[in-house]
Amino acid sequence: MGLQPYLLLAACLFAIGLFGVLTRRNAIGILLGIELMLNAVNVNLVAFARYAADPAGLIFALFTISITVAEVALGLAIVILIFRVRRTVEADRLDLLKG
């Protein structure tokens, strides 16, 4: 087994996650897409660590996972706050920054 299949798998995961982020209407759905994209990054990091025989990649993956968790917690708190204020979590309607 070479490194290539892992990278291609990660690329597929990333693309699927991107698709989710781009198309989901619900803010929580968008967050799930982001999780998938970050997961793809983790696959890449671990695969590189394995094939380069360097534990640094593993540690980066560890950091990514940890920070992702923090991000999810914070993101969901924001979603709930938005919901309280605007009574919706539809991303379409969250356009306060519209120019």
Binding site: L22, T23, L96, G99
Partner: protein
């Protein structure tokens, strides 16, 4: 540095110190009389230095390099003392000293600060004028030339709360600027041709013929334009009569004896260069003679005693220029010196009269000869000198001028000047008869001026008589090489003028109104100053209006149009572009995705 250099620098430096002190030390300036005393002391010191320098007969040239450039300095700064400069220096310092002394009495009712300001200006004028006389090159001369112009502006507008004075100051400044523009262009052109500003080098080049004469005519004409403005030659003479709005001592100093003579001095100074361009010299002669005649005619109809003297000044400056143009350098310069003395005397005398009766109008004066005998005597001395009566100073210099013009072959200008002799005597004695001997109409109780005013008057009168007497005893003027009939003719014309004035204004055998009717067209034209002022006013106003319209159009349609177009364009583009900003995070993510694609494509482009 030698003796003469030290003296010349002292003459320049003393008034400068006085000016700086008066300008910087405010309490001293506000003190008024003390400021006056300082100014007088400084110019007195300068006078002593000038006298010593003149008597020693030493010439000196000092130069320090200035404006460094590749291959030696571009210009130098220095002083040049030769006999001409030394005599001129004495005249300037003497008249300045006497006028400052006289002003102390004349302006006794001014407040302290105003008097201090007056003396500060006067000291600055003394510095500038002495600097102009001593200048060793054209550039330095031009700087001082502008400085005297500035002082003239400041002093004409000394009573700046009077609208006429303020307007006259601006008019004087603008009109002389027209000439100055030509002057500086001429200097620069001359530099481009010769590569130096320094007089002595230029003269040497003129002497050995290294200065190419073709095209030099234009250069010298431009330089002469500066003299036209400053010395009030036709057609730029219009500012000088208006400049009489300033205090009378100022008129005596700046607008009679010194500054207006600067133009004549300039031509005298640059004479070796003018000699290379005979056409320009002939033009100078013709313009001078015409100016003399024109101003004399204008002087006939003035009611303001100072304006009569102003036109007489213009006329006499025309004499000097005519002499220079005809090649009689010595005669022109000689007339400058004597005229400086007796015209200052006349102005100061007129000042004493004005001081006593409180008006400038000759029709509201009369029979002052009894009330003010001293003034009457000195004024009469000045008038006789101006008319050219033997043995006063004016007689010799005027005859020298006439002889010089005749010898120079300028016959028509000679006839004009001869006619002017008659007119000069006529209009001056018109004033004398109206003011001192005519039917008494003066108000108040006029009396002779205090000693600080009469002392300068007597000094100048003494000098006028003394110089004349010196030449009378020594026999003949400096350049009395003309035909022997010239003194007789000019004296006869002068006497005829006096008699005519006596018949018209004293005996009233011929009424002035009848004369005016006989010469009606000329009289009307003279009353309107030959429409020159109207013409200039219209051109000035029209020019400014047209320029303003043009500038306004450019501003409204080009500048504003550009700004409006830019802002409208920005607004429209912004309106289009803001649609990109949907406010939805997902739409922005498309941008990120495109950016990512772009980076990838770019990274494996060949």
């Amino acid at each position: 540095m030698n003796d003469a250099g030290t003296l010349a620098l002292a003459a320049l430096g003393l008034p400068l110190c006085a000016f700086v002190l008066l300008a910087v030390v405010a309490p001293l300036r506000r003190a008024g009389k003390a400021a006056g005393a300082l100014g007088i002391a400084a110019i007195g010191g300068a006078l002593v230095a000038a006298l010593v320098l003149w008597r020693s007969g030493q010439g000196v040239e000092l130069a320090w390099s200035w404006l460094p450039a590749e291959g030696g300095p571009m210009a130098t700064v220095g002083i040049l003392v030769d006999p001409v400069a030394a005599v001129m220096l004495v005249l300037v310092a003497l008249v300045s000293f006497l006028v400052q002394l006289y002003s102390l009495g004349y302006l006794e009712h001014e407040t302290g600060p105003a008097l201090g300001r007056y003396y500060a200006y006067h000291s600055l004028f003394a510095v500038s004028m002495i600097g102009l006389v001593l200048a060793g090159n054209f550039l330095q001369m031009f700087i001082f030339w502008e400085l005297v112009g500035l002082c003239s502006y400041l002093l004409i507008g000394f009573w700046y709360d009077k609208p006429e004075a303020a307007r006259a100051a601006v008019k004087a400044f603008w009109t002389t600027k027209v000439g100055d523009l030509g002057f500086i262009i001429g200097i620069v052109l001359l530099w481009g041709r010769a590569g130096t500003f320094t007089f002595s080098e230029l003269f040497k080049m003129a002497g050995d013929g290294t200065l190419a004469p073709d095209g030099l005519g234009l250069v010298m004409f431009l330089i002469y334009l500066g003299a036209v403005g400053k010395s009030a030659q036709f057609p730029l003479h219009v500012w000088l009569p208006d400049a009489m709005e300033g205090p009378t001592p100022v008129s005596a100093l700046i607008h009679a004896a010194t500054m207006v003579a600067a133009g004549v001095y300039l031509v005298t100074r640059a004479y070796p260069l003018f000699l290379l361009t005979p056409d320009v010299l002939a033009l100078i002669g013709w313009v001078g003679a015409f100016t003399a005649l024109l101003a004399a005619v204008l002087g006939l109809v003035q009611a303001d005693i100072k304006r009569v003297l102003a036109y007489s000044t213009v006329s006499q400056l025309g004499y000097m220029m005519a002499a220079l143009g005809a090649g009689a350098l010595g005669a022109g310069f000689f007339h400058l010196l004597t005229h400086g003395l007796f015209k200052a005397l006349l102005f100061l005398g007129a000042g004493a009269v004005i001081h006593a009766v409180g008006t400038n109008d000759v029709w509201r004066m009369g029979r002052l000869g009894g009330a003010m005998p001293q003034t009457a005597i000195v004024f009469l001395v000045g008038t006789l000198a101006l008319a050219g009566i033997w043995p006063l100073a004016g007689f010799f210099s005027k005859d020298a001028v006439l002889a010089g013009v005749w010898e120079g072959g300028l016959t028509v200008p000679f006839l004009m000047l001869a006619l002017t002799v008659f007119l000069t005597a006529f209009y001056m004695f018109r004033v004398v008869f109206l003011v001192f001997f005519g039917a008494g109409r003066a108000e108040g109780h006029p009396h002779d001026p205090p000693v600080s005013m009469s002392l300068p008057l007597w000094t100048l009168a003494g000098l006028t008589v003394g110089v004349g007497g010196y030449f009378a005893l020594r026999g003949g003027g400096q350049e009395g090489h003309g035909p022997g009939w010239i003194p007789w003719v000019s004296s006869a014309l002068a006497v005829a003028g006096i008699v005519c004035a006596w018949v018209t204004y004293q005996k009233q055998a011929v009424s002035a109104e009848t004369l005016a009717r006989i010469f009606a067209p000329l009289y009307t034209a003279a009353q309107r100053k030959f429409w020159l002022d109207d013409f200039y006013g219209a051109v000035y106003r029209g020019g400014f209006l047209a320029l303003s319209r043009l500038v306004g159009w450019v501003d409204r349609y080009l500048v504003d149009g550009l700004v409006n177009w830019a802002s409208a364009w920005t607004l429209r583009v912004g309106d289009r572009l803001r649609r990109i900003q949907t406010g939805r995070a997902q739409d922005y993510l498309y941008g990120v995705a495109f950016g990512l694609l772009l980076v990838i494509v770019w990274s494996y482009w060949p």
